[in-house]
């Protein structure tokens, strides 16, 4: 992030260099590619099912499922999968073929279209004087290889760039070419086009356009295949989903173009004089340019462009459309990747993590970078945190529509693709929570990025949001799978057992390390006005210690007052309840920090929460050992990782509540209370302690609901099922 200190017009005194981090629009290109992948997978899949090979696949899968019916026992599913391995492999080949056609077709169309531009648009080579003018500006802009220069006929009104990497060209309208000596008119336009070339927008832009063209034949293949194979009953379910995908791609492509224009404007400016020239040109009265404002337009209005040139952070703000588009494509990708992985036995072991990792990477490079860019720009301009309501609403709506509209759900009989329908709410809410946490983490990232190299800052900005989103999606997918298979009885068991995996425990360690490192690196960073309150390391550790100690002490007290378990069943029930206590200790730490420090407190909770959980676990282990139980390595590890997965669930829940409070407080536009740092930290510690004790007592009190003793055990002991 760089800043210039020379103001212009009504611009803020300090201008953020919003192009310091990789462009969020480049990452939207990634989202567009994902949409094409999704369409490609589905086209290949549908074609497969419509051909004779699809009939053989169906017969084989039916016979395999007949031999090994699916149920809560996942080993049966694996057996059925092994049985159908041969036919599934052919299906996967079709799906991968669809992907290759989609991506290669998109690039191919973009290349062919650009090769035809010179002839189709009647372009002529520019004269020597014109070429020299453009090349002079090109050298100024730092381009290693200047573009070829063409001039269009009278019908060309706007300048544009085209060509393949290393052979870029610029086509100027004759109305501009003849005025090449009028620098005020000529230079801003050419600089803008050179910025497009320098930012590698050309292939991205043309590929985005080609994606729209290619989706039509990709849509036609499955539709024709369904009609030919008499699968008319599936046709309506397919068509509306394709309509959603096509609309998303078209709107997404248009938004990429518009965002690119803002960035090309900003990237073309190297001095206040150049800024003034561009503003003059954009504000200059012009003949009717025929550009009505509509969501599919490729260029923003002049007014919007002038505002962004004067106030660059306007270009970094993420709104409803951003959240909606990214979430929709991410959810489409998650279901498609999961379906693809589950079709191939060799890939099936990745089925539970492949989708979440895809979503994590997608969200990390789009939402993560976008939110950090916005936070950076706002910090440099001395403004407060961004309003998150529209973005969060967009994420919620986009994810909900995306998973319902996923082409992988075509075979499902219910509208949402989930049974019961409310299971469909899990992933959108988790995406909203992860977005809230990422937005909160952006405030912490801002301080640290000022001290990191560009590569280091980008790496952290990508990694942390990606892990947060992937974790959220993994947790919710796991819970949803168990709820789907066995309802609440299986889900409550999964919450305290399945989520506590070794991989997730290590993931938690990485998150904690990253967050603490950010806090330490960003400590004392006051280059720019600091409108947000950020907890210090001592406050984070103090809150974690208080929450962990409160929860641990509650367990110790309970054990002291209630004595040992009567049998193994009660031991299991108590351990399940303790797992909830460990997780809720983390939730107490997150909530306390969020209440006292706002968004940055919520982000700091990513470190404080697991530390509190781990401390409560250690207290339990210590007490257990003190009471005579053997302390083995396996048991210790089991205990230590047991609370992290469930801790993620409760942390996401806290984030959802915080998001609601954040949106409500933003809408009321109340000024934030100034809190003295020391009293803030102390009150956070006290709050964490109180919350953890209350939550721990509650969890232990309702242990029969969280983990009921078997009816047989209850009958044998003659105890009421709710007995403590």
């Amino acid at each position: 992030m760089t800043a210039t200190s020379q103001p212009y017009g009504t611009a803020p005194a300090v201008r953020p260099g919003t192009l310091g981090l990789p462009s969020a629009t480049a990452s939207r290109g990634v989202a567009l590619i994902v949409a094409m992948l999704t369409a490609g997978i589905f086209a290949g899949q549908t074609l497969h099912h419509a051909l004779p090979v699809g009939g053989r696949w169906e017969d084989r899968v039916r016979s395999c499922l007949g031999a090994e019916p699916l149920g809560p026992d996942l080993t049966r599913a694996r057996a059925a999968q092994a049985c159908a391995e041969g036919v599934n492999r052919i299906l996967v080949i079709f799906e991968i073929g669809g992907i290759v056609v989609a991506i290669a077709g998109c690039l191919g169309l973009a290349i062919v279209a650009q090769r035809r531009v010179v002839r189709a648009r009647r372009l002529r080579s520019g004269n020597e004087a014109l070429v020299q003018r453009v090349w002079g500006l090109s050298a100024e802009a730092g381009l290693g290889r200047p573009p070829f220069v063409f001039v269009g006929d009278a019908s060309q009104r706007d300048a544009f760039s085209f060509g393949l990497p290393g052979q870029y060209a610029m086509a100027l309208p004759p109305g501009l070419a003849v005025r090449s000596r009028i620098a005020a008119l000529f230079d801003p336009v050419v600089r803008h086009e050179l910025a497009h070339i320098r930012h590698r927008d050309v292939m991205l832009g043309w590929s985005a356009r080609a994606a729209g063209w290619l989706l039509v034949p990709l849509t036609a293949v499955p539709v024709v295949a369904m009609i030919a194979s008499d699968q008319l009953d599936v046709l309506p379910r397919t068509l509306w989903r394709f309509a959603v995908l096509l609309t998303t791609v078209l709107f997404g492509a248009a938004s990429i173009f518009r965002a690119r224009e803002f960035e090309a404007d900003l990237g073309s400016l190297r001095s206040p004089e150049q800024r003034a020239a561009l503003v003059w040109l954009l504000e200059r009265p012009a003949r009717s340019d025929g550009r009505r404002s509509h969501p599919l337009r490729l260029h923003p209005s002049r007014d919007e462009r002038v505002k962004v040139v004067l106030e660059p952070s306007r270009a970094t703000q993420l709104g409803f459309a951003d959240g909606f588009g990214i979430a929709l494509l991410a959810s489409l990708a998650m279901t498609s990747v999961t379906a693809l992985l589950s079709d191939e036995r060799a890939l099936a072991r990745w089925v539970l993590v492949g989708g979440p990792i895809t979503v994590g990477v997608l969200f990390g490079v789009t939402m993560g970078l976008g939110l950090v860019r916005d936070a950076l720009a706002r910090r440099v301009e001395g403004r407060g945190g961004t309003e998150l309501g529209p973005l969060l609403a967009g994420v919620l709506a986009g994810y909900a529509l995306g998973q319902t509209a996923s082409l992988a759900q075509v075979g499902s009989s219910s509208l949402t693709g989930f049974s019961p329908w409310w299971l469909a709410l899990g992933a959108p809410i988790a995406a909203l929570a992860a977005t809230m946490i990422t937005a909160a983490a952006a405030d912490l990232l801002v301080d640290a990025t000022f001290r990191l190299s560009r590569a280091g800052a980008v790496a952290v900005c990508l990694t942390l949001p990606a892990i947060v989103f992937a974790s959220a999606m993994w947790v919710v997918q796991t819970i949803t799978s168990y709820a789907d298979l066995g309802g609440w009885s299986l889900t409550r068991e999964a919450l305290v057992t399945v989520l506590g995996t070794r991989v997730y425990a290590w993931t938690t360690v990485v998150i904690v390390t990253l967050v603490l490192a950010l806090v330490v690196v960003g400590r004392g960073q006051r280059l720019y006005p600091h409108p947000v309150r950020t907890p210090r390391l001592a406050a984070i550790l103090g809150v974690a210690a208080a929450a962990g100690a409160g929860a641990g002490a509650t367990i110790v007290t309970f054990r002291a007052t209630h004595g040992a378990s009567l049998d193994a069943a009660e031991s299991v029930q108590r351990f399940d309840a303790y797992t909830w206590v460990f997780a809720l200790a983390g939730a107490a730490a997150v909530a306390a920090l969020a209440v006292r420090y706002g968004r940055s407190g919520l982000a700091a909770g990513l470190a404080a929460g697991p530390i509190a959980t781990a401390l409560a676990e250690c207290i339990f282990l210590g007490n257990n050992t003190r009471l005579g139980a053997p302390l083995t390595g396996a048991f210790s590890l089991l205990v230590l990782r047991s609370g992290f997965g469930l801790g993620a669930v409760v942390t996401l829940s806290v984030a959802v509540l915080y998001a609601a409070a954040d949106v409500l407080s933003s809408s009321r536009a109340q000024p934030r209370r100034a809190v003295r740092r020391r009293s803030g930290a102390l009150s956070a510690v006290v709050l964490a302690l109180a919350l953890s004790v209350v939550l721990a007592v509650t969890a232990i009190g309702i242990r029969e609901t969280l983990s009921p003793l078997g009816m047989a055990t209850v009958a044998a002991r003659g105890l009421p099922s709710s007995g403590g």
């Binding site: 009278a154 019908s155 706007d158 009028i182 336009v189 832009g205 985005a208 012009a286 490729l298």
Partner: protein, 164 residues
Amino acid sequence: MSDPALLSAEDERALTAELAWNAVSVTAPDELSIFEETAADYFADPQRSLSAARGDEAVGFGLELALVTPTVLAVAAAALHALGAIVSDAFKSEGQPVARRLIRRLFRLPDRDSHPAESAPPPLSVEQARHVRSAAYNRAVALGMSHPEAGVLADAIAGRLLVA
């Protein structure tokens, strides 16, 4: 021309181009360097020259930077048509070459072929001259010019009709 017999197509183009050249030299002198090729494109396909090839260019600048020349040619053609409609009855009997020369003289255009013995054309009334200017002005506005720009262009083309 409203009356095809008054001027040949070639004469009409030449007159339109000459009127436009004079107007462009006043309103957009930068474009004179490519006037001939722009006029050739215009006469080959006026509609293509007057309308934008693309509404919104991908990877473009986003503002229309159109040539003025095609618009000026269209406005000149409109003025010529309006004048033709007014004087067709008076000039038709004279034959095309003479009609061409007389129209050139009305527009105060230099004419190397003029005959000294040839009588001067009857002067246009103020009303008729205003009618021609109004036709030029309306065409310019219809093609997207602002009212002040259209006024300047209409004066550059039809204003000569009022010069005594």
